[in-house]
């Protein structure tokens, strides 16, 4: 039995070995792991035959049974399993990769047995990740924080894609718990900030790849001369319908995931911000959204339900992009001003510069202003820093009006105020 009030990573245990002879081992030791053979998770069949449904249920039952067993293990045995059992890693990873998101195109499982089983697995997987993100379960059961940080990082128990998956799968109803988990992970292992820093360029590449597929090459690519034998670039109007569907699903998933992550873990905003994510996002919005909207409206859909669904996904993606922009501005510029931090003057200047940079992006600006009226933020700014140049703020507000006019839309009546 493990000794009390000593971190697990420093404990020794004496127990019978494979031949029955007593031996003393570190409490965290591969030989203390059980041969459990966790199976990977398989998602519910989309339009399943009874055999496929039965296969799903059987895999899911094993996953659930094994996770329940894992959660019932004492602290030391739990960590031995979590650190040294590769099949457990595969099982958890397969859930994050393949568990259906509520925004996936496929409908939710029609069979109540499948739905119920999916719910049960969903819960135990979350609890397993929660336990894995907790270095101190009680006064007696804990790991040294730095060792915990090393364990989760070196064994890839958490990585940036997994953390983002957790946010999008569980974040809607469990945001506070998830915030605590992710905050603890980043606090005990700051290398995750470095990983996040390495990940943001790949996130930006995703947006570039969507532009590229829609024939809307980014600035750098547009500078290169076109090769003579290069085929004519497809656009959102001319690509196959399946490609358009894939692009919109990808956009919907990407924007929802980024938003869920930034919303649950706002400390990540500064990393995204430092990569110029805000500017790239608004530029993407201005460039891609009108083309994609046009394609969804004007292409010939045999299935009108699909057309309606794609429109909703695109519109949802627009909302999420606007909300991401707001989160970035709020946590990197507005928050320091509202809290009266030392750098509030610099933050105010940055905020105004961002608003100014939005002026040419008229579609983005009007959509942003609809959800987060600029006039409100500027008013806050003026209250916090009365020295703000009024000519500049008036110019900005006029720019907002002009953006609404140029996209041919009217502000909602609730937003029209007398200046």
């Amino acid at each position: 039995m493990a000794c009390a009030r000593v971190p697990l990573d420093e404990q020794q245990v004496t127990e019978p070995g494979p031949l029955g002879k007593e031996r003393t081992l570190p409490a965290l030791h591969p030989e203390r792991k059980e041969e459990r053979c966790f199976v990977p998770y398989k998602p519910p069949p989309e339009d399943g035959s009874p055999a496929e449904v039965e296969e799903f249920l059987e895999y899911a039952r094993f996953v659930m049974e094994d996770m329940e067993w894992l959660l019932a293990l004492p602290h030391d045995k739990f960590w031995c399993q979590v650190v040294f059992d590769e099949s457990l890693h595969t099982c958890l990873d397969s859930y994050l990769r393949h568990a259906p998101r509520s925004l996936d195109l496929a409908a939710l499982p029609s069979s109540p047995a499948v739905a119920e089983m999916q719910r049960s697995v969903h819960r135990v997987v979350f609890l397993t990740f929660l336990r894995m993100a907790t270095h101190k379960e009680s006064k007696e059961n804990f790991l040294t924080p730095t060792v915990f940080g090393e364990i989760i990082y070196q064994n890839f128990l958490f990585d940036i894609p997994k953390i983002m998956d957790l946010c999008v799968l569980f974040g809607k109803g469990n945001s506070q718990l998830l915030h605590k988990m992710i905050d603890n992970i980043f606090t005990q292992q700051p290398s995750y900030y470095t990983d996040l820093d390495e990940t943001v360029p790949t996130v930006l590449m995703v947006f570039d790849s969507i532009l590229d597929k829609c024939g809307l090459q980014c600035e750098a690519a547009a500078m290169e001369p076109m090769k003579l034998n290069e085929h004519k670039q497809l656009t959102a109007m001319t690509m196959s319908l399946q490609e358009l569907v894939d692009i919109l699903l990808y956009l919907c998933d990407s924007t929802t995931t980024i938003h869920a992550f930034l919303d649950i873990f706002p400390a990540a905003c500064s990393t995204f911000y430092s990569h110029g994510f805000l500017g790239r996002l608004t530029w993407f919005y201005e460039t891609a959204v009108p083309d994609l909207e046009k394609a969804v409206r004007r292409r010939n859909f045999d299935d009108k339900g699909l057309q309606e669904d794609l429109w909703k996904r695109l519109s949802h993606s627009c909302r999420k992009m606007v909300e991401c922009a707001h989160l970035l501005l709020h946590h990197t510029c507005l928050q320091p001003i509202l809290e009266g931090r030392e750098n509030m003057q610099t933050s105010a200047e940055e905020l105004l510069q961002h608003f100014t940079s939005f002026l040419p992006e008229k579609r983005f600006l009007s959509d942003y202003d609809e959800q987060f009226p600029l006039v409100d933020d500027i008013s806050l700014l003026q209250q916090a820093l009365p020295v703000i140049d009024e000519t500049r703020t008036s110019y900005l507000l006029q720019g907002v009006e002009s953006a609404w006019d140029s996209v041919g839309r009217r502000k909602p009546s609730s937003q029209i105020r007398s200046n």
Binding site: R97, P161, K162, Y250, I258, R297, C318, R319
Partner: protein
């Protein structure tokens, strides 16, 4: 197949995740069932304990009948687990069937599911024969005594659910849903003006 996902791209193109090891095959259902049988056999109730329990406190005539019944039960278990398995596996299967049927008078859906999960596809006649054998074995012993015996022996195997991590955590099943800014404009196609600016 999963639809295209941001995190899929991050796993493929950034260097912050463990690279997939394609040489390592994940466990399939067959391997898992064998492992489960092995774990089942290791702890808790054993065939010897069942034999002893069914035979004790019986007079000679009943003892003889119980021995015969236990033999038939093992035979039915052999048909379920597969003839290629050894005596140990057959006895372990019989233990599982005894636990499953000790308080059942017929093979219901739950029992079928449990046997299938443990052994894979099986002949239903063998399951029915097992169920009947168990019923005849436990009939003279009394329900409470049998229940008490099974619970006491099986408790060594079951995880301590009452103290499991997270039992008091309120988990929400809420999911993100589509939250569009606006619906598809009515008669969208007709609204579009065809450009005549040649």
């Amino acid at each position: 197949m999963s639809p295209p996902r941001l995190t899929g791209a991050l796993r493929s193109f950034s260097h912050v995740s463990k690279k997939d090891d394609f040489t390592e095959q994940p466990y399939d259902l067959k391997t898992k069932r064998l492992k489960r049988q092995e774990l089942f056999a290791r702890e808790g109730l054993t065939w010897q304990k069942i034999v002893h329990f069914c035979s004790e406190h019986q007079d000679k005539a009943k003892h003889q009948a119980a021995s015969q019944e236990l033999k038939s039960f093992l035979l039915a278990a052999k048909q379920i687990v597969g003839a290629e398995h050894g005596q140990e596996a057959i006895e372990s299967a019989a233990v599982f069937l005894f636990e499953t049927f000790h308080n059942q008078d017929h093979v219901g859906t739950e029992e079928t599911r449990a046997i299938r999960q443990m052994f894979g596809p099986f002949p239903s006649a063998a399951a029915e024969a097992s169920c009947d054998c168990v019923a005849r074995l436990v009939a003279p012993l009394g329900n409470d005594r049998v229940e008490d015996f099974v619970q006491k022996q099986s408790s060594h195997r079951s995880p301590q659910r009452a103290s499991a991590f997270g039992r008091n955590i309120a988990f929400s099943y809420d999911c993100y849903t589509l939250d569009p800014l606006e619906g598809l404009p009515c008669a969208a196609v007709q609204e579009e003006n065809v450009s005549l600016d040649f």
